[in-house]
Amino acid sequence: MTEIAIEVEGLTKSFDGRIVVRDLSLKVPKGEIYGFLGPNGSGKTTTIRMLCGLLTPDSGRGTCLGYDILTQSDEIKREVGYMTQRFSLYEDLSIRENLEFVARVYGVPNPRAAAREAIQRLGLSGRANQLAGELSGGWKQRLALGACILPSPRLLLLDEPTAGVDPKARREFWEEIHRLAAEGITVLVSTHYMDEAERCHEIAYIAFGELLARGTANEVIAQSGLSTWVVSGPDLQHLAEELHKRKGVDMVAPFGTELHVSGRDKRALNAVIAEAKKADGAHHWTRGQPSLEDVFILLMSNAKDNYA
């Protein structure tokens, strides 16, 4: 039996009478990288804040690292590293000063040495005395991650840690996350990037406050029951508009010079495609594999928008 790092049930939170997270349950095994996905305003940040005691859920219960999220937030805070979506270290402190502050608050034995080590690990050696506020967006994110892992937490809650980070740095970032997971640290990470979702052991998709799918990337794709055709050829814009109107086609999305045509009802979709093939021979059709993005967009368009 695997150890569980996060186990919450029925979390609900509303602001000013508007439900933002509804009856959300999550189970994250220890040492796993758990991706948290969903459109803007779907309640990812709110959920993460409830996990680390920054927000009190209206209802629901659960544990984080074995501590009750409702009553033991002091214990949780000691062992969780939370990286906020918006940079929230001190802009008027240098990198070194920020890290030393964090080290002292967490009671790390030798704060100066710990900060020095973290600076090296982050590759920030040349900038140790630069003010955090003067860093570029990507470097701020690296600093924030460094501050999070400095006190060696058992659980990392990362809220869009790679927003605005260049591809190379993003890759390094994920290598670091996988290294940490291999050491037994659990990571819950929210993201809008599909490639990052695929790097997670497991993902959860939430829209309008409701959990719509979870599992490994492949499981989520399989669960959706979506099948996809890939089309290439001339005047794809016109073809897309045509296909959209047909029953059986749930989604048409352009990918570069190709069009992904997807539907949940495989039979109906195949019928539409067969008909289209017959009608004009100019296009090239192949059976495709639905991507995570296809699945998410479908999930989102089906989810009822409680603001509408």
Partner: protein
């Protein structure tokens, strides 16, 4: 973007000075309307100022607490006391029986005046021996006692003349049947600086200390750093003390500068113990820091926090006895004054510097400051939100 925007460069011509300025005006009004608290202060500050200046302040204080030591209780003595009372300047609060008690009351500031009528006063007057009535004034604040002292002489004169009729009329006819020995204690020359400069220590500390911490929590919230801070294993009381402590040190520097200037530039005497003065000033600084910190847990943004400190500073400045005589204010204003920390500190600092008071003379004021600090800190901890709800 609407298509119209692209229709031609003509639509995007320079809007001109007035329109751009107007855009700014509209934006500012919208933001102002969002901030209810600022709106309220804009109305409240003038009202508060009108009330305080208009009703509370009086530079010719009457009904000042007075202690009396009468070693003679003949009709003449009573006539003298009645006449004094009729001036409205003196309010006889205490009848004491020995001079030490009289000294103690003056020193602790319980009374503003002390009057001693000598033994066999009546007999000596009738004999024409011109006995002496002792009037002791606490002249720390020369403004408070000035007019009362001026009124004393004439009033006693008329009282005696009325009483001494018939066989003693001859005595009354002499220019002065008695003498008044006036002791202006603590500031015999009535130098205003002696009163103002020590008080200034309190005013400066109030203003700066409160301002420092009033931004402490609001700044973290406004800059977004509160979210990180709250997710760390640090307790509200640790945050509070950590934020207050550095400014106590700043306060110490300010104190040193003011005290040195008071002594060497303005020649203000410091009769009491300097270490005691520094210790109690530190306590005072800490209570103001605590008040500021409390404001910062209540205010929603830095502007509000600054407004709150100003709101608090105003009555401190006007009702503490710093700028205007405390005894000159109506009773309600004195009650408000009693719950302000500056009032008690002004008494402490004037007491130590000018009267040479020791700890024992100021226990009430010290206790008041202490309670004030504890209450402010308690409120701050209650108000401090540990979550972002």
């Amino acid at each position: 973007m609407s298509l119209a925007t692209y229709n031609g460069a003509g639509l995007r011509r320079d809007p001109g000075f007035l329109r751009r300025m107007w855009a700014m005006v509209v934006k500012e009004f919208v933001q102002m309307r969002r901030d209810r608290m600022t709106f309220a202060t804009m109305i409240m500050v003038p009202v508060l100022q009108l009330v305080l200046f208009g009703y509370a302040i009086n530079t010719d204080p009457k009904h000042m607490p007075t202690a009396v030591l009468t070693r003679d209780d003949g009709p003449l003595t009573r006539a003298v006391l009645t006449a004094m009372k009729n001036t409205d300047y003196f309010d006889f609060r205490q009848q004491v029986h020995d001079p030490d008690e009289l000294d103690r009351l003056i020193r602790s500031g319980t009374v503003q005046f002390a009057i001693e009528i000598p033994a066999s006063f009546e007999r000596d007057v009738r004999r024409g021996d011109r006995p002496s009535i002792l009037v002791i004034a606490d002249a720390t604040d020369p403004v408070a006692t000035g007019t009362a002292i001026a009124a004393v002489q004439g009033v006693i004169d008329t009282a005696l003349r009325r009483e001494l009729r018939g066989p003693d009329a001859a005595v009354a006819a002499t220019p002065a049947p008695f003498q008044i020995t006036l002791q202006r204690r603590y500031n015999p020359e009535g130098i205003t600086q002696y009163n103002i400069v020590p008080g200034l220590l309190g005013v400066v500390l109030t203003m700066t200390m409160m301002m420092f911490t009033a931004l402490a929590v609001t700044r973290e919230i406004e800059r977004g750093t509160m979210e990180s801070l709250l997710s760390m294993p640090i307790k509200p009381v640790e945050i509070m003390i950590g934020k207050i402590a550095p400014f106590v040190l700043i306060g110490l520097v300010q104190m040193t500068i003011i005290l040195l200037a008071a002594h060497y530039l303005f020649g203000v005497p410091i009769l009491g113990s300097v270490p005691l003065l520094i210790t109690l000033s530190t306590l005072f600084a800490a209570s103001n820091l605590a008040v500021g910190y409390t404001f910062s847990t209540v205010a929603q943004n830095q502007l509000q926090a600054v407004q709150m400190t100003f709101f608090f500073f105003l009555p401190n400045f006007l009702l503490s006895g710093f700028a205007f005589p405390f005894r000159g204010m109506p009773q309600w204003a004195q009650w408000i004054g009693e719950v302000l920390p500056l009032t008690h500190f002004i008494r402490i600092v004037r007491g130590i510097a000018l009267k040479g008071n020791g700890f024992a003379d100021m226990q009430v004021d010290v206790l008041a400051l202490f309670i004030f600090m504890i209450v402010a800190m308690g409120l701050a901890l209650l108000r401090f939100r540990r979550t972002l709800d």
